[in-house]
């Protein structure tokens, strides 16, 4: 079998992180559960944000989990892809806006 850093089955074992540090894990999972409950934003909106962020942080576990979660919440393909584009636009924009910093520096040190 190929050895890889990521194993899809590990997603199911997320809760096992409590094995090495139960107290912090419990706090985290409590918090996590509360974050995704319906509040000022709907669960559906939160799922789409999570999907976009998953792509920004490029976490394969999160992409797997929130693709399925979005589908369960009735999100369609077009909406999911638009969320990914939002992540891509912010990432791209975040690089590009630093271009201004580069330009500032160039102008500072050149004649």
């Amino acid at each position: 079998m190929d050895k890889t850093y990521y194993n899809p089955d590990d997603l199911k074992k997320f809760g096992d992180i409590a094995e090495f540090q139960p107290e912090l894990a419990e706090k985290f999972f409590d918090y996590y559960g509360s974050v995704f409950k319906e509040g000022a934003l709907t669960e559906r909106e939160k799922s789409l944000i999570a999907l976009a962020v998953s792509h920004a942080v490029q976490c394969p576990y999160c992409i797997d989990a929130y693709t399925k979660d979005s589908l369960q919440k009735g999100v369609d393909e077009e909406q999911m892809m638009e969320a990914v584009h939002v992540a891509a636009a912010i990432r791209g924009g975040a690089s590009l806006v630093h271009g201004v910093q580069m330009m500032n520096k160039v102008k500072e040190v050149t004649m």
Partner: protein, 346 residues
Amino acid sequence: MIKSLQARQEPLAKSEAQVAWLENEGGGERFSSKLQDCGLYPLRATGVTVLQVNLGKMCNQVCKHCHVDAGPDRKEIMTKETMQQCLDVLASTDIPVVDLTGGAPEMNPHFRWFVEEISALGRKVMVRCNLTIILANPKYHDLPEFFKKHQVEVVSSLPAVTALRTDAQRGKGVFDKSIKALQMLNAVGYGQEGTGLKLNLVYNPSGAFMSGSQEALEKEFKSRLSSRFDIIFNQLYAITNLPVSRFLEFLVESGNYDAYMDGLIEAFNPAAAEGVMCRNTISVGWDGYLYDCDFNQMLDLKVAVKNGVHIKDYNAIALNEREIVLGQHCYGCTAGAGSSCGGQTA
């Protein structure tokens, strides 16, 4: 158009093969022992308030998830004689609701006569209308008027408010036709306040995943259908796909079977188990045989009543408190908020 499993001679077209797969292939705790743990075994009926009659496997669509394996190539339909036997049972009992399903029940040549006779007995009629049938042939164009005349409650499937998701599950062009049919139903008063004409939608996930919150999905469907297509409806029923027939075949073929079953088992909810629909339903097959539900019907698991497994031998006393026949597929009814022909149960 794809064909039914039966026409493709797929092994899973046979109910025995499906039962064997469900009982042997998946690991996981037996459904009956799960019920035992929460004090619900043996599971018994609590009476019969719904007679669900399957008028046949013939359908104008061939949806990928269909648990009936219905399609245009299926010729099994209920005879007028069997319908009369159903009417006799209704006349001798006080079952208040008759739920007509199929296939496309409207394709049965005696459909309208049957609806008229049930109405004449003063019972409420529900029809599981696939929407596209209304546009399939000019002879069906007046169905909305016919439904209205008999105050039939219309229950129709729509898995998404987009063509891509809907057509992937139900066939090319189904979304556009469904929208047109919903507008026709709205036009005669269905879904409109004050008319009493109920139009309910069924949401089945179009893949190997469970449904999200029924309430949230209903909100979403209402807002998108109304803003995009000016369509209104009463309620949305979120239903879990049970691993039966074509949906079972899809799960197996796509390699999703184990994960899907694990998900259902993990989401087992005792409150949903208590409210499963078989406890107040009798399902009648196209040939008059009796089952605890439409799923058991497709798996050919007849009611556990001695000498009373056919509508002509309907034994109200025995059926009202019969023990339900269970299998691993039942996990589909008890996952999360539960699932029934009327949506969530818990």
